[in-house]
């Protein structure tokens, strides 16, 4: 094919004639495609242009690099390689008829009667791929398949891999049933549909790649600058004078590579938020409005008439009455003690339960299920109810409070720990397992150190929460400051109520300060 370089003699480029090399993308390149355009350019510059079709991409690149060819069309992949080495410069990109954009895609096509419907199903089939330099016939499809774990360059993922010499041949192979699937350029595909070479209902597209930049016409970097400019101007204006062709068939026109680049980038613009996001937001607002309507919640009423009562209540709570402070402090202390003991109880029960409720530490699936059920069960029963039952069963005092808090929050802690244990990095676990460490030691060495920080954090949160809950438990007779609070309300001693509230606030604030210090130590 490349007779001009076979004898190694320098080419006639730039003197009497120019050579244009064409990489093997389509088998109707020639008559339909670049020939008429080059005839036109040749007439305009007054110099013959020989159109040479190469057997492969490497041959075309070599001809441009050596200067044997002045012009060329390489396909995108080979173009990028040659351009990075500074050997060629792009000057025009073809826009297919009706497309409006010089970009194209790689299409995976199957016969319409094929059972294959998704890209994943091509595994284990027969495939026709293009030249390894081909973008839409090889490189893009390879990347698309690699993303779902299928390798085009290994024999094991396909029963047969055929290399087609161009896209049209690949299409024919699919039609003739020689292969099950082939990735081809959308330009070739639609051109074949347009010319009737592919009948309606014969083939089906199962996958479309993202946009690929259309390959430019290039000139050799060594070409004279004046000639470069002249040729570019002629090609960009050619569509006004004639029907032009190019890669894949008839073209609308040629555009400057800069314009083509903009078109490519534009093809990748997507809105940050789609209508789905807006729909979800509006639906949520709608639901909130409906729920408020159903509950007869009226924010306006709260601000006007109810506001007056509110001011009245607050007024009666002022100033706080601290006269009985020693007794209140004792009750507060009892509440903190109940919470503390309840939390310790929760922690000690939740550790074994959590180890059984995490998939990676549970001895077996049955125990895992039971443990998860236990955690859900105790979370589901409010401590309030637990405390009421326990007060009936074992009488008034701190004991029912401690037990109610302990078991209820055990349900939370066990779930937290188990989730944290499931999220640990499994690398250290594998390492210790591979060295034969016993199961509990694996937990102690590879899991506990990884979850110690969230472990401390959860415990402190539960303690904080239990103090607040313990104040309420007093109301059902389970001891502590809650009892005093309820009594004060019953006697309409609102100034005492506000004193108790302040006391609770100060206590929780103090606990919060202490716990953030403890937490900081473990980070």
């Amino acid at each position: 094919m490349m007779d001009i370089t076979e004898d190694g003699s320098p080419p006639p480029s730039g003197i009497g004639a120019l050579t244009m090399v064409v990489a093997p993308a389509s088998d109707h390149i020639g008559g339909l495609d670049l020939q008429s355009l080059m005839d036109y350019v040749s007439r305009e510059i007054g110099m013959p242009i020989n159109l040479v079709r190469c057997e492969n991409y490497g041959e075309a690149i070599a001809a441009l690099a050596s200067g044997a060819a002045a012009l060329g069309w390489l396909g995108p992949q080979a173009y990028v390689e040659a351009a990075r080495e500074g050997r060629v410069e792009p000057f025009a990109v073809g826009v297919p008829l009706g497309g409006g954009s010089p970009n194209y895609q790689s299409l995976f096509v199957v016969r319409d009667d094929s059972a294959i419907t998704t890209l994943a199903e091509v595994r284990g089939r027969r495939i026709a791929v293009g030249d390894p330099h081909s973008t839409s016939g090889y490189n893009v499809p390879r990347r698309e398949l690699a993303d779902i774990g299928i390798r085009i360059d290994s024999g094991s993922d396909f029963i047969k891999i055929v290399q087609a010499s161009n896209h049209d041949e690949a299409l024919r192979m699919v039609i003739d049933g020689v292969v099950d699937v082939a990735p081809v350029s959308s330009v070739n595909y639609y051109e074949n549909v347009r010319t009737g070479a592919i009948q309606r209902g014969q083939l089906r597209i199962i996958h479309k790649s993202p946009d690929i930049p259309g390959a430019p016409l290039v000139y050799a970097a060594s070409l004279a600058p004046a000639l470069k400019r002249r040729i570019k101007d002629i090609v960009l204006g050619a569509h006004e004078h004639m029907e032009i062709g190019g890669y894949g068939g008839a073209l609308e026109r040629y555009v400057d590579p800069a314009e083509a680049r903009l078109k490519l980038l534009e093809a990748y613009i997507r809105p940050q938020w789609t209508w789905k996001t807006y729909l979800s937001i509006f639906s949520l607002l709608g639901v909130i409005w409906l729920v408020s309507f159903d509950l007869e919640v009226d924010p306006l009423a709260l601000m006007t008439s109810a506001g007056n009562y509110f001011a009245d209540v607050i007024g009666r709570m002022m100033p706080p009455d601290f006269t009985d402070l020693p007794n209140l402090l004792l009750a507060m202390l009892e509440t903190v003690e109940i919470a503390l003991l309840g939390t310790v109880l929760a922690i000690s029960i939740s550790i074994p339960v959590a180890l059984s409720a995490a998939r990676n530490t549970a001895p077996n699936y049955a125990i895992y299920l039971v443990a998860r059920l236990v955690t859900v069960f105790f979370r589901a029963i409010p401590e309030f109810i637990l405390a009421m039952i326990l007060v009936i069963a074992i009488g008034f005092g701190a004991m029912p409070g401690v037990l109610a808090l302990g078991f209820h929050t055990m349900g939370f802690l066990a779930k937290f720990y188990a989730d944290a244990a499931e999220d640990v990095d499994s690398g250290p676990v594998d390492a210790l397992n591979s060295m034969g460490a016993p199961r509990m030691q694996v937990v102690a060495f590879a899991i506990v150190p990884q979850i110690i920080a969230p472990f401390i954090g959860y415990n402190l949160y539960i303690l904080d929460r239990n103090i607040r809950m313990a104040t309420m438990l007093g109301i059902v007779g389970a001891g502590g400051i809650g009892y005093e609070l309820q009594a004060a309300f019953r006697m309409f001693e609102y100034q005492r109520v506000s004193a108790i509230i302040i006391l609770i606030f100060v206590t929780i604030f103090a606990i919060d300060m202490i716990s953030s210090r403890i937490r900081a130590k473990f980070h």
Partner: protein, 283 residues
């Protein structure tokens, strides 16, 4: 703004660091009088073992550390608290640990490089102008990741993530790119690709680069100029073409711990203490 070309000495310095000294509160002297000049489009590698002061030098350039003495001038303007915003708008930075936001798309990570001048309500909801998006996509294309624009950064491979990091620096159209050990957490093959990419793009766009490295082979391969740092002092400042490994090894004789001279070529004193007490049975 002073045009660098028009400075009194007539040179095209993008950056001048003169007599930079930095002593930390705990008394550690990290920089003990460093002089560094970088021209437009120049790729300068600051080479030195761990603890040499490379990071401190970069941090001082963008004002993350205040120098104890000496000064840094970028495009002729002195780096000081009042000029920080102006200085930082001209600088792009690439980090060893990539410092990407893993849960955001590659595109939004790149767009985050524009936030200093896009501090409006829309960007609070990740909404950017079309022209900004096009610019970000172009930067991603430059680093070969256009097709990953909408992939979460955390899902990309190490080399791809650092390329997103490069794109995030490029979108700022910086005069100066600072890279602190940009390839230290990448394998040698990928490290090579990423550095090639940085070098190629910056050369094309005339962006000056200061790249901290501890690998001598990479420094010799990519630097226009190598500035050798050790213990807070400049040991060497030469055109990369004029020097070789042996020369560097000689200069660093006695300071070489923590320098990587290339595969199979670790400095021998690194290993002296190995097996110091022998491997015989214990009593």
């Amino acid at each position: 703004m002073t045009e660098p070309e028009k400075q009194a000495d007539g040179c095209q310095w993008v950056l001048r660091v003169s007599d930079a000294k930095k002593t930390f509160e705990d008394g550690t002297a990290a920089l003990k009088g460093v002089r560094l000049e970088v021209r437009r489009g120049e790729f300068v590698v600051v080479l030195g073992p761990s603890g040499a002061g490379k990071t401190t030098l970069l941090r001082s350039i963008i004002g993350l550390e205040r120098l104890t003495a000496g000064e840094v001038r970028l495009d002729g303007a002195k780096v000081e608290p009042s000029s920080l915003a102006e200085v930082r708008s001209k600088v792009g930075m690439i980090f060893q640990g990539f410092n990407l936001i893993d849960n955001l798309s590659a595109l939004n990570n790149v767009l985050s490089g524009l936030l200093d001048t896009r501090g409006n309500l829309a960007t609070l909801f990740y909404v950017f102008k079309r022209s900004d998006k096009l610019r970000a996509l172009q930067c991603l294309d430059q680093v070969g990741l256009l097709d990953k624009a909408y992939s979460a950064a955390g899902k990309l491979s190490g080399g791809q993530r650092q390329r997103v990091g490069v794109a995030r620096a490029l979108i700022r159209q910086p005069r100066l790119l600072l890279a602190d050990e940009p390839v230290a957490s990448l394998d040698p093959m990928i490290a090579f690709t990423v550095l090639s990419l940085i070098k190629e793009i910056c050369a094309k766009q005339g962006i000056a680069v200061i790249c901290n490295l501890h690998q001598v082979d990479l420094a010799l391969r990519f630097a226009d100029r190598i500035v050798g740092l050790s213990d807070g002092r400049v040991l060497l400042d030469e055109k990369a073409g004029a020097i070789n490994q042996d020369y560097i090894r000689e200069i660093y004789a006695g300071h070489g711990q923590g320098m990587y001279f290339g595969a199979g070529d670790a400095p021998s004193d690194e290993f002296v203490h190995l097996d110091f007490l022998g491997s015989g049975p214990l009593p």
